[in-house]
Symmetry: C2
Subunit: 391 residues, 2 copies
């Protein structure tokens, strides 16, 4: 377990957004402010090819760098202009979708004052969005919208009032007699319960799917996975990783609270668990051992189910109605990341096919031209949601 | 109108948190991380007297300053230590409560990487909290908690899906037959619909009041007041200030949406409007002219009701069940800010007493030792809530 987590962490920490294939084409001068900029801010900007242009005002700084761009070469170095502003354009286009980044100003780590912040890497990072060719599925449209409720639930096991977010689908308020299935959806390492809605647009993905009649309306719950609690000398807390504290919060505290305060269908066949990256590892540690509670399981860039996993898990074939596994295509090029604990180099697609042959409803999805990043996970949710709760 | 708004804007922009009275006492070395720090961050720190100590890593910077501290002298200048970190302690204690701030690093404006961010001054600013002696009323306690729902409502008048937050009190989910009054609560200039919950803890104030049986449970709705829309050359959009766009969104779009999707009591005597600073001005522009819709009105550091206002507003005496006006005590020391449009130097307490004598249920509250800042407004909500919807 520890080895797999260390692998995952290494992947997450070092993963810079890969540059897409560059061509000899000139950089198009059609840069526009990023959709994630703070109100009224002109920079950072993105062009139609996916290049990013930065502009940071710090007239007396010695050097300014952006962590985004060329991972291997340490990011994009900005150059000071006559007006005191530091500017640069990435050397190549970035992958479509959402990327975290930050600035290095004279040796210190700061956020880009032009961009909004998103919680990742155990800090609020700057965020930028490269418009994706398929961005329509997570766009804010003129369709009925569900609500995203912030709840505070009592957690005796941790001695706290803990926070979670609960997406209720359009119609939830009106259909007072209807009850809904629930998906418990976990964030990745260094993120928190805000990630699936802020970075992932999970609510908009669901609103759009429901408006098109492509998925059954269901509830989504996100809460903090606790594995990245900070302890001095133990970055991310992985050295002392233990699933039990989170499992206790989830199974004994959060699920009863949600079932007590929302109109849920609370039987096994109407409850799913899925997660991205570290959240996938958590899902794999919790759901298969609690098949009286979960019928649908999703691992998004967070491991696979091997035939051994299935054979060694009592009830898996009978009780698991969907085993959904997905990756960004660039993750599979590397190979190591995709492996499950104890078999780091296993081919996840082969795993998915093997358990399908063994009778499991196994679905394997690969997000084209994306890495270990949020567009992979937005697309994965978009693929997975219509497959859930089809009883 | 324009003059009053210009006054207000000038006050808001230049208002740095006032330093409390200093004494000859030594600075107590009991500094602890601010409660608003990002996870695991040791700085900024606050001591038991309200001094703040900053520490910012930027080893190659030329100069680092914090906007917080001595407004007149341009903030707190940090000094570089042997380890490359810049540190300083404010020259005196700050007022209790919440303060916005930012860094100036080599001439550029950045946020403190140690602190969480809060939307104010038309940007996400760093925030710090000086523990207040009466902080208990907005503390997160082991009591039943209401939910804060993010909603997206259609706004044909602005061609957008707009965001609002809706606080539903504890018990809302269980008491399926109960309907609740609604308070529409506006943020200040440069802020947005997140302010009353993030900076103001409006939900915790309500949870605690309800747990103590001190207020009737009601719904609170916050949305963006639009007056600080950014236009080039027009900071804050005040030069072209017009209440109509926001009034249309509020009256024709948001209120019908809320009444359609939440179990509200939708008659006049169960609807209130209040706001802080600019939100108070908006409240005063909208509510008295729409007394078929609002029975309770609150202006928090955002103007007063004079006898002329009352006499010149048809139905005021008959239909307004509460005219609540409040200020931070330090605002009244200055005088100018407290004045209503057209009478900038009027004494707001005298105004409150005059309309009370004229038969209005007028309540005037002054927050002790606070300025134009959120502790004034947390306390004002705490005072006002028990007075609402007492039919």
């Amino acid at each position: 377990m520890k080895r797999a987590l260390a692998l995952l962490l290494a992947t997450v920490v070092t993963a810079a957004p890969a540059l897409a294939q560059t061509t000899a084409t000139a950089v198009a001068e059609d840069f526009k402010p990023s959709s994630l900029n703070q109100p009224g801010q002109e920079y950072p900007q993105v062009n139609s090819q996916g290049y990013v242009r930065f502009r940071v005002n710090a007239p007396e700084a010695q050097h300014v760098k952006v962590s985004l761009g060329l991972g291997g070469r340490g990011g994009t170095v900005l150059n000071k202009g006559a007006d005191g502003a530091w500017t640069a354009t990435t050397e190549g286009p970035l992958d479509e979708g959402f990327h975290y980044y930050h600035l290095n100003v004279d040796g210190g780590t700061f956020n880009d004052p032009g961009a909004q912040n998103f919680y990742g890497s155990i800090r609020w990072e700057s965020g930028i969005e490269i418009p994706a060719h398929d961005a329509d599925f997570y766009a804010l449209k003129d369709v009925p919208h569900g609500h995203v409720d912030q709840i505070l639930f009592p957690s005796p096991s941790t001695g706290k009032q803990r926070r979670a977010f609960v997406y209720t689908p359009p119609g939830y308020d009106k259909n007072q007699r209807e009850r809904y299935p629930v998906l418990y959806l976990q964030h990745g390492w260094g993120e928190d319960e805000t990630a699936w809605f802020n970075q992932g647009h999970a609510n908009l993905i669901m609103d759009n799917l429901i408006a098109e009649g492509k998925t059954r309306p269901f509830i989504i719950v996100t809460t903090y996975g606790m594995t990245n609690d900070i302890k001095p000398g133990s970055p991310g807390g992985l050295n002392s990783f233990d699933i039990k504290p989170f499992q206790t919060v989830l199974l004994n505290e959060l699920i009863p609270y949600v079932d007590g305060h929302f109109r849920t269908l609370s039987d096994q066949k109407h409850r799913a668990m899925a997660g991205l990256s570290m959240g996938g590892f958590e899902t794999k540690l919790i759901a298969p051992k609690n098949l009286d509670k979960f019928a649908y399981i999703g691992l998004l860039s967070g491991g696979t189910f091997s035939l051994d996993d299935v054979n060694n898990t009592p009830g898996f074939k009978e009780k698991v109605k969907l085993a959904f596994v997905s990756f960004g295509s660039r993750e599979l090029q590397g190979g190591g990341m995709a492996g499950p604990p104890g078999a780091a180099r296993a081919d996840p697609r082969a795993n998915a096919e093997a358990i399908k042959k063994a009778g499991v409803n196994s679905v394997f999805y690969v997000s084209p031209n994306t890495a270990h990043e949020f567009l992979s996970w937005r697309r994965s949710l978009h693929e997975m949601a219509p497959l859930l709760f089809r009883d």
